[in-house]
């Protein structure tokens, strides 16, 4: 198992290097720069600004010094926000993004698996069609539609829940979490259903039932463990997706998260902030993929054998 993890970590290094290099050069080759504004900046001022951010040096030298800083964990100063470092901006924005991602994942797993199990146990009945149709709608409905719709119903009409905010009044975290988690819940429902259907048709399930075990023991103890493997494999990328894809939800609900500023950074050509958040998210994605692979290996004996893990 440790060898497996170590080799995956080693594989991650070239991946991250490629991400950093590509992002670094792509943002710099994009037209416009951090200091191009509608009101023309006096050339002397522009030169002074470029000197303060070392943009006056050759590109390769900039890249070299960026990498050196990065190795020391320093993402550099933000271009858009004077006096702020990218580390500071990420540290300020990430907790809310992570919390939102976690709740959304919770929503996705609970709702998705419940719906998937119900559907799998009653294939081709209304208890299959209703949750699966809801899941299809959930997959298709974009968050920028679902979010405002939920706000309209629960925030403005019924006045049950706050229309926006994060951690300011009780209950304001519910709508953003549901909005962000809904599409993933739908996906998990479909994965659970197909995983469960496959497992439920296995011989050992028939054996379990033949032994006279109660249905809930059959389902939750015997079937679920095998049935959720596709879901577990999906969770890593899903959580990474929830973290890096929360921009729309953060904007709709005024969540003080990193997603909003990640996207703004691109529009502002805030080179260091774009790079910093990209690298940060890349690391997260690598880590969560690794975690979900490890978890899947632990759940699935066949996979474990294939990896040479005892």
């Amino acid at each position: 198992m440790w060898r497996f993890i170590a080799s995956r970590v080693l594989q991650a290094i070239p991946v991250l290097f490629i991400v950093i290099t590509l992002t670094f050069f792509l943002v710099r080759f994009a037209p416009g720069g951090p200091f191009s504004t509608e009101k023309a900046v006096v050339p002397e001022v522009k030169r002074a600004l470029e000197a303060q951010y070392q943009l006056d040096q050759p590109l390769l030298a900039q890249f070299g010094s960026y990498l050196t800083d990065l190795v020391h964990g320093d993402f550099g100063p933000s271009f858009k926000y004077p006096g702020r470092t990218v580390n500071e901006l990420i540290a300020a924005g990430f907790p809310a993004t992570a919390e939102l991602g976690l709740y959304a994942l919770l929503v996705a797993v609970v709702l998705g698996m419940a719906a998937g199990i119900v559907a799998a146990l009653n294939p081709n009945s209304w208890r299959d069609y209703v949750p699966m149709s809801a899941a299809m709608i959930g997959i298709c409905m974009p968050t920028f539609l679902l979010g405002p719709l939920l706000v309209l119903i629960f925030g403005l009409w019924l006045e049950w829940l706050p229309v926006s905010g994060w951690g300011e009044v009780s209950g304001d975290k519910i709508l953003p979490s549901i909005t962000l988690g809904a599409a993933y819940a739908a996906y998990i429902a479909r994965l659970t259903r197909s995983g469960m259907l496959e497992v439920l048709s296995q011989d050992y399930i028939r054996t379990a039932r033949a032994k006279g075990l109660p249905e809930y023991v059959v389902v939750f103890k015997h079937a679920l463990r095998g049935g959720v493997i596709p879901v577990v494999a999906f969770l890593g990328p899903a959580f990474a997706g929830l973290l890096s894809g929360s921009f729309v939800v953060e904007t709709i609900f005024q969540v003080p998260g990193l997603g909003r500023f990640f996207v703004q950074a691109a529009f502002n050509r805030d080179y260091t902030l774009i790079l910093g958040s990209t690298v940060f998210f890349a690391v997260l994605i690598v880590v969560f993929n690794l975690l979900s692979d490890v978890l899947a290996a632990w759940l699935n004996p066949r996979l474990r054998a294939g990896l040479g893990v005892k």
């Binding site: 002397e44 709740y103 103890k221």
Partner: protein, 538 residues
């Protein structure tokens, strides 16, 4: 099994533990705290390293210049200076600072504080994008651009502890207005030097706890992406007349979300309003809607180097073929004002000449005179705009008007903001949407940008007579009548040559809760936070 049951219990309990809570607006009105939708997360609050409108709002509350502005008339009112004298030739200003002016840490403000602050604002290494606001001061431009290194030659002199003398290059009638711009605010030398060098953009001096300012409010809390909180500054010289106890600025970059926040009583004032909500508020909640003229022009720039467009007759034909009234009524929800000049009419009392009107017949004739009868043979025209729904709608309308009235086919191209700026700057366009918001209330702010090689003159247009008027003749004029005559002449040249097609005058559009008082509208969308107060609805 148990894990899932636990998850279910947690989820359900989180979901049921909800209740609305008291609304921010009610609570704020009771406690004297203004909740202000401020557009975006502020870049910072150092007046010398920030440029945007949200930053401007916060800095207006944190700092005070030598003079302020009356929020209704925009006339200068005493600020840190309680009186001043202007020499007969209009070039030397002497300000007497009030002796009870204090920083927010209780220390006295002196004339030297202003001299040092302006020295800092003009440091070439700082990269102050608004340094040009100080350029009317003698030698300030030379110093800021590194041509002069001796600051004692710049026209700022400390006479004594409380007297400051400023010498200008030429009489500048709008100079008093500039003193209320953030680039002219005093900044605390001791604090800045404690946290770094004066030209350090990465300094921590503006952090809550470190920051010292001199305005009616002071910084207490800054939660990134959430809010910036200010409280009343007890050391402010006029603290007795400051009615608010605090202001909270929220980054609300999405206007749709912002409107929802307003509707659910989370904001007293918004930064904007989605266009399609305006009719709704107009009919049902008109007391909460503010739509007023704003000192800004929306226009199309023309690349006069392009074949076809290098003929002024073609450019004028394009301008005359636009039905501005119809555009405003049908596309812009009636919230703007048609423009037939670069300078908005009534800017500081100046009435620009109106040299053309909507005249399809005349436009067709001009186009024919230029050699393109019925639009035949005219090289391809493309409207460039930065990606935005409103700009797109306007471009579509103009495309249609030019087709109907001139029979010319125009294509459209949208680009992301920075790409668009790049295209504009390198004259890689034929017709481009653009806008200008005045820095001060004077025609100069709209007309000086069209001089040859001006930083914002991305049209390739140039006129020797125009340059002479703007750069030499008008600055030497002494009376407002003479100046306005000069601007009329300049504007006439501009509208005959038509390197830009005026389309409409901007308006400010935002929502304001009825409890907010003392916030009159004005051309600059300027808020004097010290005069704002909140009264519960009766």
């Amino acid at each position: 099994m148990t894990v899932f049951r636990a998850l279910l219990v947690i989820t359900l309990s989180v979901m049921t533990a909800c209740s609305g809570g008291e609304r921010r607006v009610e609570q704020g009105t009771r406690d004297g705290i203004l909740h202000f939708g401020n557009g975006t997360e502020p870049q910072g609050v150092d007046p010398h390293t920030t440029t945007g409108v949200p930053e401007h709002h916060i800095e207006q509350a944190l700092f005070e210049g030598l003079v302020g502005k009356d929020p209704e008339t925009l006339a200068p009112v005493p600020g840190v200076a309680d009186r001043w004298e202007i020499s007969a030739d209009g070039r030397v200003y002497r300000f007497h600072l009030r002796e009870n002016a204090r920083w927010s840490n209780g220390e006295a403000i002196t004339a030297e504080d202003f001299r040092w602050s302006w020295w800092r604002g003009l440091q070439p290494a700082l990269g102050n994008e608004y340094a040009y606001m100080l350029y009317p001061i003698r030698n300030a431009e030379a110093y800021a651009t590194g041509k002069l290194t001796d600051f004692s030659q710049v026209g700022v002199r400390v006479i004594d502890l409380h007297t400051l003398e400023i010498e200008l290059t030429a009489p500048t009638p709008y100079f008093m207005q500039l003193l209320d711009h953030e680039s002219m605010f005093p900044v605390p030398r001791k604090v800045i030097e404690k946290f770094g060098t004066p030209v350090d953009r990465f300094s921590q001096w503006t952090r809550p706890g470190n920051m010292v300012s001199n305005g009616p409010f002071r910084l207490t809390e800054w939660k990134l992406y959430k809010y910036v909180r200010l409280e009343k500054n007890p050391y402010y010289w006029d603290a007795a007349n400051v009615k608010l106890n605090g202001i909270v600025f929220y980054p609300t970059e999405n206007t749709i979300t912002e409107e929802r926040l307003f509707r659910s009583q989370q904001l007293h004032v918004t930064s904007s309003i989605p266009l399609d909500k305006i009719p709704v508020y107009r009919t049902s909640r008109s007391d909460e809607l503010r739509v007023d003229p704003y000192l800004g022009s929306y226009y199309y720039m023309i690349n006069v180097k392009r074949p076809g467009l290098n003929d002024a007759r073609v450019r004028r034909a394009l301008a005359m073929a636009i039905d501005r009234d119809s555009l405003i009524k049908n596309v812009l929800d009636g919230v703007n004002f048609p423009a037939y000049s670069m300078t908005p009419p009534g800017t500081a009392g100046y009435q620009p000449p109106i040299l053309f009107k909507f005249d399809p017949e005349g436009a067709r004739k001009l186009l024919a005179d230029a050699g393109y009868p019925g639009g035949k043979g005219l090289p391809k025209i493309e409207i460039l705009y930065n990606t935005n729904e409103a700009h797109r709608k306007i471009a579509v309308a103009l495309q249609q008007m030019w087709k109907t009235n001139l029979n010319i086919d125009v294509t459209m191209l949208n680009q992301e903001w920075k790409v668009y700026l790049d295209s504009r700057n390198s004259l890689d366009y034929s017709v481009a949407r653009a806008a200008w918001i005045g820095d001060y209330v004077d025609p100069d702010t709209f007309l000086n940008m069209w001089i040859t090689g001006g930083g914002n003159n991305d049209t390739g247009w140039s006129s020797a007579e125009y340059d002479d008027l703007i750069l030499h003749k008008i600055p030497a004029m002494h009376t407002q009548e003479e100046r306005f005559a000069g601007f009329t002449r300049a504007e006439t040249i501009l509208m005959q040559e038509m390197p830009i097609i005026p389309i409409y005058i901007y308006s400010t559009k935002y929502l304001i809760h009825p409890s907010v008082k003392g916030m009159p509208t004005n051309l600059l969308d300027y808020y004097a936070f010290k005069h704002i107060h909140l009264e519960p609805e009766t």
